[in-house]
Structure formats: structure tokens, C-alpha cells
């Protein structure tokens, strides 16, 4: 891993890395690496370094506690956190259709089962907004606007506040009118319009969440508005503890202290009903499609050096290809990444010097940053 200078965490241009690797390896024109092979090695090297960040992070926390890491510019942990946080994603989890999975491994077969995203490396936290202020169906829409219009509501009396979370909970195809918002499309309340008719029936959102592409229409998309000041974390509980927890009077999961267990890439959330806290929820309220959100660290995208045509027998770099992808690690990692790729390349071309060069560079780098 490179020195810890993470200014703005510029991602690493893949063409630059490839040129450097070829310059090192391509001795006497027999060290040529095909784009396909380069992409494989690049992905391997990036993953290796990516994983190393988490071990480094732990290592530096231990060293910080031993007072061998400082603050300010000497705060190594902060720099590592910044890199890891560039892979942080927040997204609603897809609720599993109970009828399609009648018996999930945890034994829950209700609506409290959600699917984790396919690109997660580690789930940092799950959370939800336990206080739903109001939910309903839009009665009309205005093309290109950020309005939420529901003529059956007076949002002034529902306690909706500026900053509250607005979610388009429509599932595409489920709404009577073709819904444009994918489930989970979200923004926040900017204000409740005084001028609307009937009074308080229109909210201005932060973005166009309920937009009819045809330019105005009958609405029909479902929405929910949540109190943005009350966010609770859904805590991970191990399979060996979950039934002790649910059986305990003092610690059983409640809407304010929910928890989940993991089965494969499914999570089962407890409690399965959310009564009590959520006025205007009714007793025995069930989980909804946009009830659980995850903050997770995703895998880095696989780097892709793309090309178009051959000039002089050489593939010409093409940064406009659909599958083009730079490295996602910060620029400061370039020397270490090149050293790592060189080790793979050296093996391919059976060139021990290239392997040794890569290993030497890596060892030096480790020595410098330890």
C-alpha cells in the first residue's frame, strides 16, 4: 500500500498503470501482456490491496492505542477510513416477496425478510426510520416538478416537517398508473405549500420523485414520509444468540431496538411487527418494502482497460467503451499496484527479474509505511 496521501482520493487511471507495467515488463518485445490478461491481473491486484486496507486499518488502530500514531497529518487511521469510505454505499434493501420464499432459513416467513445487495463486501450497519408520519397515494402529478400531491391529505396536520424523508414506495407495475419512481427513490421535504387546494395537500420535495413522463397525469404512486430525526440501527445478532434475545424480557427486539440475523444474503429483521411507536401506524403493523436501509462497503468495480482496433499491431486505448473502468483505489496506491501487477506479469512471461522487482517494491513500500 502506498504512502498515506489521500488528497481527494483521485482514482487511478488504468491506462497509465498499464503503460508503466508494459514499460517494465516488455523487455526485447517478448513481455507483451494482452488486454485480457492485464485486466485479470489488475482486478486481482486491486482486490488484494483493497482487502489489505481493512487489515491495515485494524493494525493502525492498535498502533494508535499504543501511541505510535499521531493526530492531524500523522493520523493514519483517518486516511485509511477515508479510502474505505469512498466505497461506502447507502441503499434500501429489497423486501422479499413472502410468497416466493415461504420458508427462509431463519424460520421467518413473513414480510420481515430482506435481500442484501449483491455487491457488498461488508455490511457496516442497517437502519430504519421507525416513525412514519404519513403514507398514501399521489392523486396527481405535474411533469418535471418535485411536487407530491395527495388531495386526501392535509400535511400540516400530519406533523410532516421540512427535512423529513420522502420515499416513493411504488413497485413498478404495481401502481395503477405507470410509476416512474423505482421503489426506494427518495428525497426530503422542502416545504408544504400554503397555496395548494385543498390546503396542505402538496409538498415540495428535494427532487422529482413522483414524475409522470407524459407530463401530468393521474398519479397513483405510493409514498411514505418518515420522521428524519428518529433513525434506529438494526443490530446484527449472531444465529446462536437470536432466540435467547427474542426470549429475553429486558433485551427482546423492539421497534426502537431492532435486530437482524443473516442467512446467506437474506436478512430476517426482528421484531416482525412494529406496533406501538408509530402513530399513525395501526397495531400489528408489518414491515414495508422501503423499511430497512443499509450502509455497506461495496467491492471495488473490476478495472477494465478497453480498446478499439489495432494500430501497428497494438490495441488502441478506448476510454469511451461502455465497460471501461479505472482503478478505484487512490492515486497514491499506484506504485504498489504496479508492483503487484508486475509480480503476476513476471510469472506469465517467466521473467524472474520482474517478479523480484515487484516483490522488492512491495517490501520497500511495506517497510516505509509500517
Amino acid at each position: 500500500m502506498g504512502p498515506f496521501f489521500f488528497a481527494y482520493l483521485c482514482s487511478m487511471p488504468i491506462n497509465e498503470v498499464r503503460n508503466t507495467v508494459l514499460a517494465i515488463a516488455n523487455k526485447n518485445n517478448y513481455g507483451y501482456i494482452s488486454p485480457q490478461d492485464f485486466n485479470l491481473y489488475a482486478q486481482q491486484a486491486q482486490m488484494d490491496m483493497y482487502e489489505d486496507y481493512f487489515y491495515q486499518y485494524n493494525n493502525w488502530i492498535n498502533r494508535e492505542n499504543a501511541r505510535s500514531s499521531g493526530t492531524g497529518y500523522a493520523d493514519i487511521v483517518k486516511g485509511l477510513e477515508e479510502v474505505i469510505d469512498t466505497f461506502s454505499v447507502q441503499a434500501f434493501l429489497a423486501q422479499l416477496n413472502p410468497s416466493s420464499v415461504p420458508n427462509v432459513p431463519s424460520g421467518l416467513s413473513g414480510s420481515a425478510v430482506y435481500q442484501l445487495p449483491s455487491d457488498y463486501y461488508l455490511i457496516n450497519k442497517l437502519y430504519r426510520y421507525p416513525t412514519r408520519r404519513v403514507s398514501g397515494t399521489t392523486s396527481s402529478s405535474v411533469g418535471g416538478s418535485a411536487l407530491l400531491i395527495d388531495n386526501t391529505q392535509d400535511f400540516f396536520t400530519t406533523g410532516v416537517q421540512p427535512g423529513d424523508l420522502v420515499i416513493n414506495t411504488s413497485a413498478t407495475g404495481a401502481a395503477p398508473y405507470p410509476a416512474t419512481g423505482a421503489p426506494g427513490l427518495q428525497g426530503w421535504v422542502q416545504n408544504i405549500s400554503n397555496a395548494s387546494t385543498p390546503a396542505g395537500s402538496t409538498i415540495t420535495c428535494s427532487a422529482a420523485l413522483f414524475v409522470d413522463p407524459a407530463g401530468g397525469g393521474p398519479g397513483g404512486e405510493t409514498y411514505a414520509i418518515y420522521d428524519a430525526n428518529n433513525i434506529v440501527e438494526v443490530e446484527r445478532v449472531s444465529q446462536s444468540k437470536i432466540f435467547n434475545l427474542t426470549s429475553s424480557n429486558l433485551t427482546r427486539p423492539t421497534p426502537q431496538y431492532p435486530c437482524y440475523v443473516l442467512d446467506g444474503n437474506l436478512i430476517s429483521v426482528y421484531p416482525t411487527t412494529w406496533d406501538g411507536l408509530n402513530d399513525p401506524y395501526t397495531l400489528g403493523d408489518r414491515m414495508g418494502p422501503c423499511d430497512v436501509k443499509a450502509q455497506y462497503i461495496r467491492y471495488p468495480n473490476a478495472p477494465r482497460w478497453t480498446w478499439v482496433g489495432l494500430v501497428g499491431g497494438e490495441p488502441v486505448f478506448n476510454a469511451s467503451a461502455v465497460d471501461y473502468q479505472d482503478f478505484e483505489l487512490p492515486l497514491s496506491d499506484e506504485p504498489a499496484l504496479i508492483a503487484k501487477i508486475c509480480q503476476y506479469v513476471g510469472i506469465e512471461i517467466r521473467e524472474a527479474e520482474v517478479v523480484q522487482f515487484g516483490q522488492g517494491e512491495e517490501a520497500l513500500d511495506t517497510q516505509e509505511t509500517s
Partner: protein, 284 residues
């Protein structure tokens, strides 16, 4: 921005119940305690790390319970009428009683506990005094024991104290508010101080969850002052503790966690224990 606006405090934003927030500033909620602990006392650079929230929640609740038992003077008061069986059903969050009073003619008359039991379970027996069982091998029980029946019917004797009466100090029966006496033959030995009182007495059947009163209490109004465990019958959102105890609660959670940690050094545990006990003394 203040925690709560004056309008919210006095009127609860016109949401029912409007008195919800009165006096609330004295207390810190369980949510705040758990949140603050995780924020301030747990982390990579703190004494405690890698702890589950439910562990903090558990120890926080245990600390609040212990406070309620030992130190806090948070007394709850409930007034109910005694039923025909001379019973007062204990409230759901009852842990121990402080005082039980008869409310009569606008006056609270504290009652004394009769340590001589005035209630009992019973088994059915045949004329050979053998216990009777049902087909499943379980013992058959009557609805009330003879002791209960006598108490309910006012057939238990107790001493009558009234200096102006010729029956002062005599053993008699209090039935429906009136005293009846046997002929006084022979001597009386000792004085039962629990019942040597013109007021009715009571005895608590903890497992049955009732207070059994002496006769004459049917339909009387009784005021029970009791302590709870502060768990608000399991409604976490209502659990709170006076701010004067806030530091003690954190110290108690910290000690409980460290005390259960495999790798915590003894001096750290001792420091946490001293923190906890000194804060309990200074804050209670």
C-alpha cells in the same frame, strides 16, 4: 436550539396527552442512555469496544432496576377498592410496597402489616384426611382455604382496643364494621401487636399477586404506595431515570461490561467498581 420548546413542554403541541412533557426535563430516557454510552464509552480508542447494543441495553436496564430498588425515591401511588374477597390485586409493575393506607372520610389511615398469615392455600381431603387427586395426578384444591373463609366472613378473632369501652383489650370479631365478643372466661396471654390496632390489617401474598385484608375491608378504598423497577412494563420508550443518576448509570454499565470481559485487567475492573459505588453514594 433547545431540547424542547416551551409550547411542547406545556402543551405537547396540542397532542393528547397535553401534560406528557411536564417535568420531563428531570429525566433522561433509556434511549439517550444507551445512545450516549455507545457514543462516548465504546470505541476503538476506549476501554470498551466490540460490544453489542443489546448488552448495553441489558446492563442499562439492570442498573435502572437496582437504582429503583435501592436508592431512588420514585414512589408510585395507586388507589383501588378492595373486592368482596378482601383482595387488592397488585399493580403490574409492583415490586415492593412502601405504605398501604385506608382512605376513609377524606383521611388516609396507614395500615399495619399482620405478619401472622391471614391466607393460605388448601387441598381437598377425604374423611380419612387423605389428599384427593384428579385423573392427571394433580391435587384437587378448594376455592378458598378455611383461613380465607374465616377471614372473609369475619370469623378470625383479634384484640379490641378502645380505652373508653368496657371491652377494651378483649378478643373479639370484627364483622361488617361491628365488633362481637365471646364471654370472657379465663386469662389472655400476650398481645398480638400487629392486630392490636383499631384499623384493619393486611398481609401480602406475593406469588398470588394480591394483598389480603382483614375482615370489614370489602369495598373500602385503599391507597397503595409502592416502588416499581422502572421498566414501565416493558415499554422501553417510557423508561427514564432522574438526571442526578445519569453518571451512575454509565458507571454501572461500564463496570458490568468490564467485569465480564475476559481480558480486562483487575485494576481496571476495580477502578470501574469504585466509580460505580462512589457515584451511587454521592448521587443517591
Amino acid at each position: 436550539m433547545s431540547y424542547i420548546t416551551d409550547y411542547q413542554y406545556y402543551e405537547n403541541n396540542q397532542t393528547s396527552p397535553t401534560d406528557e412533557n411536564w417535568g420531563s426535563y428531570q429525566y433522561i430516557s433509556l434511549d439517550d442512555i444507551v445512545n450516549n454510552f455507545l457514543l462516548m464509552y465504546q470505541g476503538n480508542n476506549e476501554l470498551i469496544n466490540n460490544i453489542n447494543r443489546y448488552q448495553v441495553l441489558f446492563f442499562a436496564k439492570r442498573a435502572i432496576q437496582e437504582l429503583n430498588y435501592d436508592a431512588m425515591k420514585e414512589v408510585k401511588i395507586l388507589q383501588l377498592q378492595v373486592n368482596d374477597q378482601l383482595r387488592f390485586v397488585l399493580p403490574p409493575d409492583y415490586v415492593n410496597w412502601v405504605r398501604i393506607s385506608l382512605y376513609q372520610n377524606g383521611v388516609l389511615r396507614p395500615l399495619t402489616e399482620n405478619i401472622q398469615t391471614n391466607w393460605s392455600g388448601a387441598y381437598l381431603q377425604d374423611n380419612q384426611y387423605r389428599i384427593l387427586f384428579d385423573a392427571y395426578g394433580d391435587v384437587l384444591k378448594p376455592e378458598s382455604s378455611q383461613l380465607d373463609i374465616d377471614r372473609i366472613l369475619g370469623q378470625n378473632r383479634s384484640i379490641y382496643l378502645n380505652a373508653g369501652s368496657p371491652y377494651d383489650g378483649a378478643m373479639g370479631y370484627l364483622y361488617e364494621g361491628a365488633w362481637f365478643f365471646d364471654f370472657q372466661v379465663g386469662g389472655r396471654f400476650g398481645l398480638n401487636t400487629e392486630t392490636a390496632n383499631s384499623n384493619p390489617t393486611f398481609n401480602i401474598n406475593k406469588s398470588a399477586g394480591v394483598i389480603n385484608f382483614s375482615s370489614g375491608m370489602a369495598s373500602s378504598s385503599v391507597v397503595l404506595e409502592y416502588v416499581s423497577d422502572g421498566m414501565e412494563k416493558g415499554n422501553d420508550s417510557k423508561v427514564s431515570v432522574n438526571k442526578l443518576f445519569e453518571d451512575y448509570i454509565y458507571a454501572a454499565i461500564k463496570y458490568s461490561i468490564l467485569n465480564n470481559r475476559l481480558s480486562a485487567q483487575e485494576y481496571i475492573i476495580n477502578r470501574a467498581r469504585k466509580d460505580k459505588s462512589s457515584l451511587l453514594r454521592t448521587q443517591s
